[in-house]
Symmetry: C2
Subunit: 308 residues, 2 copies
């Protein structure tokens, strides 16, 4: 069975939406990625750091989903990374109320020994230097490295960001970030410019408008499921990435056709993530739930025009 | 063969985009709808009005595409409806520079005698009272009436708009207009509220983000083709509607499954419309062009996940 290394934050989030607000709850990119990837029962390890204030229950939650947590360093005297945000009424924009790096400020990721030969690596959103540090620990070239990043690093660490972008096979990035990174409004042109920076595959996430997968001249589009309400968008992008890499790790097939399926799985899992606060929905997700929603995605997009 | 009645403006447009600007060129909802529907060689008639300043060449252009133009009244002493607009850099927003109603101000539509029993009626964007006037001339109940409208009538003739909405089978409307009409942000909820106003089918157009077709609890989504550049969006919505109704008229099948195909045809034709100014691209469109792009739409959206 292929192995998957997931790097990213494991964190506390406090979230406010038009539907309510939470205290400090479980969050973080590696958490959402791990929960999504665990749907595929892959052999995965999370690499991250938390403080002494982080409940063992939360680590157990990941471990019970078959995510190896030995790569999550616990800094006893430190505090866990904390993010707080408030979503506006349209749910597409948010204000960050607090970002406390805490133990993340000095994070030196350590990939567990038996995962250094993993074929699949998911670099969740973190400082590009940390992401590079993870790749350098791999003892053989992975089959597929997927990078997630955000505009914060474009503003604050562009040179390092370009370094890691040049080393990965797939980048997932949202539409505004793709435009910022390339200076191009057209996403088709932006994707081509990002190809030239290194990644053979470019996934552009458009939130409620779905996601586009680009590979040379091939394009695939997965819509987001039209929902009555988006309860909390936090973690949707990470859940998408986790579904994407989890499916590829499970099937061990990185053809473009199989990546289409991976994008559909990512969109499907993300559509659950937004139904409740934080990781709540992802914790109880069953195979039946996922299967039923995949059918909805199929009904939503598949048509039958005779193209003879 | 089923017959189609198309009602809408036949007009002069002057367009400015980041790519250039035009003098007065051929435009109007009925023009774009007719050119799109003509791809299906249906038996169609356009109902509209122009002034003495309208070139016979433009009328011939429609007639040569097999669109009956006897329902286009020519008011010799009047001037043709003129619209002028300027698109912003993102091409999603525009300023209207001029709207000269001219002969449209006193337009009394007359459906040609031999089209009063048509099974398909496309009510292009016009004053709701004019749209109602057309329906009242039909001597038998059409199989399918499709309504296109816009926010202008919500602001200025809401009561009349609700009257025509209650009489049609399908409404095509853009996302912001659906939100304005219903006061709901979620397009799923908005579509449900519009169902309750009358139309059994609701098409919500999202521009570069594609289009959604709602029918009770069924949803179908057609993306817009990701394009390197949108040269001129004028007429894209009308072209979508023309492709939609043209395909349904041709196939004479108003099942939900066939409407999915109609939405795909509408999106396909709209993707050509935006490639050049005004109707330019639609005038030279070949069956081969359309066939090739349908294949691109298929490649863009079709996937093959085993849902056993």
């Amino acid at each position: 069975m292929s192995k998957l290394v997931i790097v990213g934050t494991v964190a506390f989030d406090a979230i406010e939406t038009p539907f309510g607000k939470t205290d400090k709850i479980l969050g973080g990119a590696a958490t959402f990625i791990g929960l999504a990837a665990s749907q595929f029962n892959v052999d995965a390890a999370a690499v991250s750091v938390v403080g002494g204030d982080f409940p063992q229950d939360y680590l157990d939650l990941l471990a019970n989903k078959n995510i190896d947590t030995t790569g999550i360093e616990i800094v006893k005297e430190g505090k866990t990374f904390f993010w707080s945000g408030k979503y506006h009424n349209d749910m597409n924009t948010r204000d960050t109320l607090a970002t406390e790096l805490n133990v993340l400020a000095d994070f030196n990721p350590v990939v567990p020994e038996n995962y250094k030969d993993a074929d699949y690596v998911m670099l969740g959103n973190l400082h590009p230097i940390v992401q590079i540090g993870v790749l350098e620990q791999m003892t053989k070239k992975p089959k597929l490295v997927v990078l997630d990043t955000m505009n914060f690093w474009m503003d604050n660490a562009l040179e390092d960001l370009h370094k890691i972008i040049s080393k990965v096979d797939v980048i997932t990035i949202n539409d505004e970030e793709a435009r910022q990174l390339t200076g191009e409004y057209s996403l088709v042109v932006a994707a081509r410019k990002i190809h030239e920076m290194g990644p053979k595959y470019v996934v552009i996430k458009k939130g409620e408008h779905g996601a586009l997968l680009f590979h040379n001249d091939n394009v695939f589009y997965a819509p987001a499921l039209p929902l009555e309400e988006v309860f909390d968008p936090t973690g949707a992008g990470d859940t998408f990435a986790g579904g994407f890499i989890g499916y590829l790790t499970k099937t061990d097939d990185i053809s473009f056709d199989n990546m289409k399926n991976a994008v559909i799985y990512g969109s499907t899992l993300a559509s659950f993530c937004v139904e409740k606060f934080g990781t709540e929905r992802m914790q109880t997700l069953s195979r039946q739930d996922v299967h039923k929603r995949l059918q909805q995605f199929s009904d939503l997009t598949q048509f039958d025009i005779e193209l003879s």
